[in-house]
């Protein structure tokens, strides 16, 4: 009975910590994005609210919350609101299988910094990731607006194409690790002293393409297309309801998919890797905190990379996007899969 209570408390704490981190960081990433965008375009960005605009997300939040809640006259109110829930919940649930660091001991209790270490973690990530389609399709349909419907159909087409690609892209690391559990994959990379990016550069590139496409980042943000579609499937949403969709798509999903990329290709919480030789840890002075810092560092670097792309590239047309998915990315992942299946037994017998 005591074990059950301890387990319940640990799980509850984990859930609260993960929710706090995800939603809090998600809100503050809006500021990061605006600052990075501003500096890429040689302007200062938000400077007025707080020191260098540090309180800007709070001001934005208050502004969005106090706005009038508009609703299209012939829309479907139930589905309109349900779409918000269906966007937020799966995106946040993905973090249940993201391992933040190695096992550690608190008050004599072993704690794994991962909410549930199910042995099919990766499958869950992609199942939940593609649940986003429902939210988008519903948001587009319930708004009863042509712009919203066109935007949501575009986005759904992109997500469906790239979901196939991303699933095949991650097969390489799965074959190398021999497991579907995210925690175990990182452990395997540490044991084999190899980040899988060194053997799977192709899969990593394809994964990054799919990440950009699924989260609706430039160059794949055609569902948004301000010039032709106003803002795609979010046209009819106002106030905080409007704020929620970019929060989920651009920040929470990018964060979760970057974390999964770090787990799959960049060795999770392990320090810098020299293939087959070992790890070099310039942050050794942090002691037991160093793995967590490494993990956060890698995820933020990937996130900044995505931001950099967003504010540098123009956008593709919808047919170019889906054609790239089916005619270029998918064959590439097949080639990568066959190569990995040949290489893996040679390397590890």
């Amino acid at each position: 009975m005591e074990g059950l209570i301890v387990w319940l408390i640990i799980t509850l704490v984990k859930i609260l910590v993960i929710l706090g981190i995800v939603l809090g960081v998600g809100a503050y990433l809006t500021l990061v994005e605006r600052k990075v965008a501003a500096h890429i375009q040689r302007r200062p960005g938000p400077m007025v609210v707080g020191w260098h605009g540090l309180l800007q997300p709070l001001a934005d939040g208050i502004k969005l919350l106090t706005k009038e809640d508009l609703f299209p006259r012939y829309g479907n109110r139930f589905l309109y609101n349900l779409a918000l829930v269906m966007a937020l919940v799966p995106a946040t649930l993905v973090f249940a299988v993201v391992p933040f660091g190695p096992e550690f001991k608190v008050f004599g209790v072993e704690v794994k910094p991962i909410l549930t270490d199910v042995n099919v973690g990766l499958l869950l990530v992609f199942a939940l990731g593609s649940m986003a389609v429902f939210a988008i399709a519903l948001a587009g349909w319930a708004s009863n607006s042509k712009y919203a419907l066109i935007g949501s159909m575009r986005k759904a087409g992109i997500v469906v194409s790239y979901e196939v690609v991303i699933t095949f892209a991650v097969m390489g690391p799965i074959i190398l690790a021999g497991t579907l559990s995210t925690y175990e994959i990182v452990q395997k990379q540490i044991e084999q002293e190899l980040w899988y990016i060194w053997l799977q550069p192709l899969a990593f590139v394809v994964y990054m393409f799919a990440l950009l496409a699924e989260t609706g980042r430039v160059p794949f943000d055609v569902q948004e297309a301000e010039a032709e579609l106003v803002t795609g499937f979010t046209v009819e949403y106002g106030g905080m309801k409007f704020g929620l969709f970019p929060l989920v798509e651009w920040y929470i999903e990018v964060l979760s998919l970057s974390a999964i990329a770090v787990v799959l290709f960049l060795g999770g919480w392990s320090p810098i890797n020299i293939p087959f030789l070992g790890f070099v840890d310039p942050l050794f002075f942090l002691g037991p905190l160093s793995p967590f810092v490494w993990f956060i560092l890698k995820v933020s670097l990937l996130f900044l990379f995505v931001l950099w792309l967003h504010w540098t590239l123009p956008r593709y047309r919808i047919d170019q996007i889906t054609e790239t998915a089916w005619k270029v990315m998918l064959p590439l992942t097949f080639v990568n899969l066959v190569l990995t299946a040949v290489i893996a037994p040679v390397l590890w017998g």
Binding site: Y74, N76, L79, L82, V118, N119, V120, L123, L124, F126, A127, L128, S130, M131, V133, F134, A137, L138, G140, W141, N144, L149, S152, M153, A156, V160, E163, T179, L180
Partner: protein
């Protein structure tokens, strides 16, 4: 205890949403009810410890299959989706014995399956090797032929879909003035 509660929750949800699939009139609500059925069945699999099957249920049925229904329905005009078609009463009455027959068959297969299934023999394997490995091992040893046949059928289906999809493009090419 907790397992029973969660099982009860998911099974009630599955039954209620199953009723919704049959009884609701707005097609979008029907799709959502179907999604709810599939997700709660996946939940039942997770409670039973069949994690791989649960995840596959989510990724194949709840996402891949249902998405295409949503695709079709978002292309349906708003007014058409709300229009209520009359129920097919005569057809429903005529097909009822067939439905009963199908249910009887499912029940029979289920009972036979329960009586001949190995009881607890695989539990040790599952604990030792993990869900995915055990399913893979059984699939590629005992049921290898069936597995290959199914993949052949899927391949044929895919080729058929491609051929049907291509035909239209060819007629357009012939029609150029």
């Amino acid at each position: 205890m907790i397992q029973w509660l969660v099982f009860l929750l998911f099974s009630t949800l599955a039954v209620v949403s199953g009723l919704g699939v049959v009884l609701l009139s707005n097609p979008i609500y029907v799709i959502l009810a179907l999604l709810s059925v599939l997700v709660s069945v996946a939940g039942i699999f997770f409670v039973a410890g069949a994690e791989l099957v649960g995840a596959l249920q989510l990724i194949i049925y709840a996402v891949a299959v249902t998405v295409f229904y949503v695709f079709v329905l978002t292309a349906v005009p708003w007014e058409k989706a709300l229009k209520k078609d009359p129920f097919y009463r005569v057809e429903g009455l005529l097909s009822f014995p067939l439905v009963l027959l199908l249910y009887a068959e499912m029940l029979l297969v289920f009972l036979i399956g329960v009586s001949v299934s190995p009881k607890g023999q695989f539990r040790e394997f599952v604990r030792q090797f993990g869900n995915t490995e055990v399913v893979g091992g059984i699939l590629f040893s005992k049921y290898f032929l069936a597995f290959e046949l199914v993949s052949l059928v899927l391949l044929i289906g895919m080729i058929g879909a491609v051929i049907i999809g291509r035909k239209e493009a060819q007629t357009y090419e012939g029609d150029t003035p």
